[in-house]
């Protein structure tokens, strides 16, 4: 199994006598109990008030509840700038933040393949612990299953998250209005190209790291400033193109983007050129677009740029009147074309 970059865990692994996951680790007996106690509970902190039970019982603060879930199947499990675990935590935290919620609690369910290295699992678990701390959330419940060797591709993770919405805005595509400015929180395509750089058959040497990171802190600052946020969307699979197309379709609006204003790092741009990929369609992980009234754009950008997760923020376009709803791109030389939803998996090309 190619897990990409090898883990060198900062914390000593707590389970020594089993170097690999066995079917028994999912069996509900002693081995599973040890795995839960020594690995998961040890990393994710003390149990909620009602002790370790089938469900975590939590005191929910006043406000509307936001709830989301995602599964993570990324290969390789460990990649430059992150791993499946940190990606899972950040991803779910960010989904909550995109509706303007303050993320509170996560669940983490693991499907482990028999034979998965215990060292790798521990590395992922520590990474989740650190990501949760950074995101100011707690992982309060979870599940573990083990499947036969050959049936699981190493490790799959599902995270679900609960957050509280403490304001009265409706942050959703339906709130997007003609004339809104489209802002982006940073440069694109880092995550996808970081993965490509270690993908078998296409590897190249680079310093590109995944941009996987929590953006919830930054969203809280934007809300605290009293800005009228119409819509937020984090960029994941399918990159900027996918996110904008989804919003255009749901909001029934036309979005016009200036290609030259979309920030792309030089080495990411070069990697895309090498493999014949369009950076606007490549996955990101710690980036979001924000739709705000034009009059609030400068203030929003100023807040974003002062935060570490918005340092490279910029204005990339605007919402215009037009039918049918589309995403239009003004190219580097000034002509217009459609920025389409990427179709299927982006395959590198020779021509």
């Amino acid at each position: 199994m190619n897990h990409g970059v090898e883990f060198t865990s900062a914390c000593p692994i707590p389970i020594r006598q089993y170097p690999r996951i066995l079917l028994a680790h999912g069996g509900g007996g002693k081995l599973m109990h040890e795995l839960l106690e020594k690995m998961f509970f040890a990393a994710f902190g003390e149990a909620p008030a009602n002790g370790r039970h089938d469900a975590a019982v939590l005191n929910f603060p006043a406000g509307r509840l936001a709830f989301t879930t995602d599964s993570y199947v990324v290969r390789p499990i460990v990649f430059p700038g992150g791993d499946i675990g940190s990606m899972a935590v950040h991803g779910t935290v960010n989904d909550l933040a995109m509706s303007g919620a303050r993320p509170l609690w996560l669940s983490a369910a693991f499907i482990l393949e028999e034979g998965l290295s215990m060292e790798t699992l521990w590395g992922v678990v520590c990474s989740m612990r650190d990501a949760a701390a950074r995101s100011e959330v707690r992982i309060v419940t979870g599940d573990t299953k083990v499947v036969d060797k050959g049936k699981g591709d190493g490790l799959f993770i599902n995270t679900a998250g609960i957050g509280v919405i403490e304001h009265s805005l409706v942050i959703a595509p339906g709130s997007v209005k003609t004339g809104d400015a489209v802002l982006i929180s940073g440069d694109v395509a880092r995550h996808g190209m970081a993965i490509m750089s270690v993908r078998e058959g296409l590897e190249f040497q680079s310093r590109i790291q995944s941009d996987s990171a929590p953006v919830s802190g930054l969203v809280r600052k934007l809300l605290a400033a009293g800005l009228e946020l119409h819509c937020l969307r984090d960029l994941t699979r399918g990159g900027l193109a996918s996110a904008l197309n989804e919003i255009a379709e749901t909001a029934k609006q036309r979005i016009v983007i200036e290609e030259n204003s979309v920030p792309v790092r030089e080495d990411v741009h070069a990697a895309c050129e090498l493999l014949g990929l369009d950076p606007l369609q490549v996955a990101c992980e710690g980036r979001f677009v924000a739709f705000v009234p034009a009059k609030d754009a400068d203030q929003a950008l100023s807040i974003m740029r002062r935060d570490e997760s918005g340092a490279g923020a910029g204005r990339i376009g605007a919402v215009e009147n037009g039918d049918p709803p589309l995403v239009v791109l003004k190219s580097a030389i000034g002509a217009s074309r459609i920025l389409d939803m990427p179709s299927g998996e982006q395959l590198p090309r020779i021509c």
């Binding site: 190249f204 040497q205 680079s206 080495d267 070069a270 050129e273 090498l274 020779i350």
Partner: protein, 84 residues
Amino acid sequence: MCLAIPGKIISVTGDDPLSRMGAVDFGGIQKDVNLAYVPEANVGDYVIVHVGFAISRVDESEANEVFEYLRQMGELPELKEGSP
């Protein structure tokens, strides 16, 4: 034809001309490239790379031709206006 991009040779290894390899930098990323077809290219030169092979050395003295040609066109006397 085909996707080929310019990169700068950073280092060269191999004595056998047909398996001469180079580490080539493309705007900050690097790939090992077969240099068998550009024996005249050395460290510091730019080459055009297609599917892992350098197929040509970039002639840096010609690189400005595109801009020079345009400049010269601009200096030509006014031609009859073209029909749109």
